[in-house]
Amino acid sequence: MSYFGEVALGSSFQPFAALQEQFGFVPKLFRAQTLLPRVLEAESALISAILFTDKALTRIQKECILLVLAAVDGNSYCFTLHYQMLKLLGVPEQRLDCIVADYQRADLSPTTAALLTLVFTLGNKEAAQEASSQGLSDESILEAILTAALSRFLCTLSAGVGATPDFAPRPIPSLQVPLSDTEHSAEFFRSTPKPPDNFAPMLFLRKEFGSVPKVFSAQTLRPDILQAETDALRHLLLPEDALTRAQKRDILLAGADLETLRTRGLTENQILEAVVTMSFGAFFNVLQAGLGAGSDFTARMPEKKAHLSVPLDRHTDVTVVDPDAECVGKVKAGDLDAFEELMNRHSQRVYRTLVGILGNPDDARDAMQDTFLKVFQHLPGFEGRSKFSTWLVSIATNTAIQRLRERRPMESLDESGPDDEGFRPRQVQAWTDDPEQLYSQAEMRSLIENGVMKLPIKYRVVLMLRDIEQLPIEEAASALGLGIPAIKARLLRGRLMLREALAPHFISSGNRRSAQGVTN
């Protein structure tokens, strides 16, 4: 299962034939992308050149790198895939568990240990020198760095497409990973041969980016890889059937926020292409860090920077304490009952968000199914950078807005209503001391619900989230994509308008007769 629908491509589809041959099956990660066969061609070119071609490193060495880095990333999909591959390649489970738990105590050969240290501390010149002193050639070091970049590519991609593991998910143990300060250097390799002036990949890059990004000049030891990388970019960038070339170049160089993109009304194909483009961006970002090649490609999200000082990044990333984190983790591991628990916890919040926007309880109940199905579908890509509840409300908000657009194309959360300017309170008679004693609870609810429903949508939704659902202001701002000042201004306006609507029912008895006369 993934976020995207699967289309049959036939057994002769070359990228699938290559994957079938190398993995023994076509992993779900790739089956999740059949909406855009050309991106599969792009990926297949890259993966074949790095992983399936035996040049300096063996397949087992490369799979080991992929396994430990997937563990560092906490990516259950990739961890399970590479664990299974290594088993198929004949590495016993016990050995794999030792390597993942602490490779420095796993009795690895000095060269393999040096390779793993190198990929854990990418960009660190000493680690590269240590690898050289263990007899690893420049070609081996380059291939290890390429494999680390491929790991980041696969992890970003699998999270982005929401692939569920192909096999029973393996629990990821806690890791012993060396930390080091990174010292970037452009002098990793003793020689970087200059390719001929008419070398097609360089011509393509010059045309596409204006000049050749340094990360490519640093890989001239492997023209076949450069060819594969630029073939992949050609498949990815040139067609404009989903995103435009300029959009993709932006995502490639600067990244994108997938959680936001998913809720912005893009087509499935566009979102898929954004995910793939971002994964390629992450690949080049790790590569440039590993090669000390300067920074043309920026990873948008902090944890996408590279496999640099990962435990530190992880630590500093934990900025929100989320009471739902454990439950979310269980769902990601395949526990569907945990999803039901999340629904039970948040049904009121989702319902109120939907009512707040749609302005109708029947429509809101109807939209709940859509919302929770989207939440389930996108959960593998939810990275916990906001609280789950905030993320959930933003999905509910966008689901409701989408429905609203279908129903009333002109209405939006940003519209300026006739009351926007010049709102002045008109009901200024004193209220009774204890208004809640005047009506039964059911009557009170009815009064409030009617009053809230009559508010313009932009005030209604904020009041619903802040005062009725009592969402903290920061979470409401984040879920609605508004600044805190805008939330405050809309909330005040909503409260004052609601006060105005309720006033005739609550003014003190001495004033009531005249107030009813005014409103009737």
Partner: protein, 80 residues
């Protein structure tokens, strides 16, 4: 001296308790002699209390349960 218009410009922050002491003193001084603004503050506070206390827009469990069951059925069938 602040006017009713000045008071209205600050009423949101005042209701949230989010004003500096000096501003709060000025606003409260205005309230001490302005019946209209006093009514506005009092009725706005009561509005907020009613809205937060009444439990409006509750989705009854009996309404939610069949929705939840439909969602879980969809999820379980697509996960197979």
């Amino acid at each position: 001296m602040i006017t009713c218009a000045d008071f209205m410009a600050e009423i949101g922050n005042y209701l949230e308790g989010d004003v500096a002491d000096e501003v709060r003193h000025q606003l409260e001084h205005h309230l001490s002699h302005c019946q209209t603004c006093t009514v506005l503050v009092d009725s706005s506070r009561k509005t907020l209390k009613i809205v937060t206390d009444t439990g409006s827009f509750d989705l009854p469990e009996a309404t939610f349960r069949p929705i939840a069951e439909r969602i879980m059925a969809r999820i379980r069938s697509s996960d197979k």
